[in-house]
Symmetry: C2
Subunit: 308 residues, 2 copies
DNA sequence: GAGTAGCGATGCCTTTGAGGCATGATGCGT
DNA sequence: ACGCATCATGCCTCAAAGGCATCGCTACTC
């Protein structure tokens, strides 16, 4: 004679009975007939092997064991519901972890509002931000440790296994000290830069930047003279301020630029731009939260063109 | 079309499948047929509304949601089992709280070994000791805040609503300073005490003691002279040491007596004794743990007569 | 103190759905 | 191409949850 195992039904019924202290009323609340409830409770006590309640003609009272069990069962049921809700929330992208890689200066206009909106929208997703170079990001995306990356649109070879969507396009500007003759111009033709000494960022660490700068001068004669390569934006600014030379920077740098430097747009307007993209791995699905965040980013960028 | 609610069965099955990553093997472990298991899992996913696993011709893999759910479900099931075990343990007297009242000096021989044995036997019962006077104990027992009390057998009027069982019976002795003439006697006839000044404990706080002392001298002439009433055992000892008078004490006091005092048995041997009992409320059942402890006390007392 | 109202338990039947068996569909490896 | 392992589906059985009528008990009421 095999007894049916304990099921959640028993627990749900038990809570109802223990709260009503009356089989008839509990049965009504549960929308079952009282005899069925009676038998389920008998089965439960039989399974546990402990008397949980005392029945009398005027209702039900809980034994000490019954009171303890009520306590426990309430927690178990709450925990169960919570588990299901967590899974549903995860599927809706409202729970879980989201790993985002970003280049700090390059995403300064994009990331903060997106993060704020996302945190507001789905506060239970744990956002983990990773300050990475483009190469590290590509690697992490392929490995799957990163869900999304916000980066400069990379070259072909760095892009294998990845997919991109444009977030914002920044034209290049020239950064110069206020006393420089070009400071009087509203905009600077790139042809006039070829005779100026230039300060650049270090090639190996900022390969995307380097590539774009070369692209800007493609086909011009003579090629500009690079008098210094700096290993960070701030040292670049210092070099320009010190008058060592001018620097080419995408317009986004206006946010991080020292006030002691001026930024002038380049002409013509159809020069190569620095494109900031959101990257994801081609293989493997995005988590729902990542999908949500990606959408967030794309619709945020109402104006995709970086103004100057 | 009403879908059956989620039951523990679904969770147990899910864990089996998620562990085996194979319906056929999981079904074998669960001793059900594979198709049944398949359908239960379909029902589960349907109920939650989330895909928990991906099926292929080579087995099963968990989705991210499925992994989270596995984690959660394992905890829920463990919690459920634990709840049932707690209730069973409570019913067996191996879990819960046990409130014991005791008079410190009077239970010095009885309580420590019983506590040690009990803690060893059922370590998960939380023992709460209450140092109370007899009156407070009786009150607490009737109120139900106390499970058991270890006390001096009380008078009728203090005993209403309570039941007692004898633990140990202590004959009275006389406490005297070493230089007192009676110190040379092996035992002291009570008739010789009626001419000695006596030191006693304060009547209102130690009514049981008082009653017994009066009982000892019942029928004797003249009645002894009580020269001082002390409000604690230690001040009583001091008074006797100082030579203010002798004191009558049950033999159990040999454990707490200052070494500067001698204790001599009284004769005849059939004088009233101080009986230490375990008390419980008449109405209301003892908790299983209390019942267990009571048995412990009763069988511990292999020799019920306090030796001298 | 008989009647009655409210309680849970029991007997008996219905219905639901879990489970079993046979088989289908599919993808992988040989 | 075939075989094998996998999970899904169709169909049936049967256990057990659920419903209805009724019983037995107790406590209150008049």
């Amino acid at each position: 004679m095999m007894r049916p195992a304990m099921e959640l039904r028993h627990l749900r019924y038990y809570v109802a009975v223990a709260e009503a202290l009356n089989f008839t009323k509990a049965a009504a609340r549960l929308r079952v007939a009282q005899p069925s409830l009676s038998r389920q409770m008998q089965g439960l006590e039989d399974e546990i092997g402990v008397d949980l309640m005392k029945r009398s003609s005027r209702g039900v009272t809980l034994t000490a064991e019954g009171k303890l069990f009520l306590d426990e069962v309430r927690q178990v049921i709450a925990r169960t519901d919570e588990s299901v809700n967590k899974v549903r929330a995860l599927a809706r992208g409202e729970y879980g972890e989201l790993h985002i890689g970003y280049g700090p200066s390059v995403s300064v206009e994009i990331l903060p509002p997106a993060l704020a909106a996302f945190k507001n929208d789905v506060p239970h997703v744990k956002l983990v931000l990773h300050d990475l170079s483009s190469n590290e990001m590509a690697e992490a995306l392929r490995r799957g440790t990163l869900d999304l990356g916000i980066m400069v649109s990379p070259t072909e070879e760095n892009a294998v296994g990845l997919e991109f969507q444009l977030l914002k396009s920044y034209p290049f500007c020239v950064a110069l000290p206020p006393q420089h003759p070009f400071a009087r111009l509203k905009q600077v033709p790139i042809t006039r830069l070829v005779h100026e000494p230039l300060v650049s960022l270090h090639q190996s660490e900022y390969s995307d930047y380097h590539r774009l700068v070369l692209l800007l001068f493609a086909g011009l004669e003579p090629q500009p003279r690079i008098v210094a390569e700096c290993d960070s934006g701030s040292s670049l600014f210092t070099a320009v301020q010190a008058g060592h030379g001018l620097a080419l920077l995408p317009a986004v740098y206006r946010h991080v630029l020292s006030t002691r430097l001026e930024l002038r747009p380049l002409t013509p307007r159809n020069l190569p731009t620095m494109d900031v993209v959101v990257a994801r791995a081609t293989k493997g699905d995005l988590t729902p939260a990542a999908e949500k965040f990606r959408r967030q980013l794309l619709q945020d960028g109402t104006l995709r063109k970086g103004s100057v």
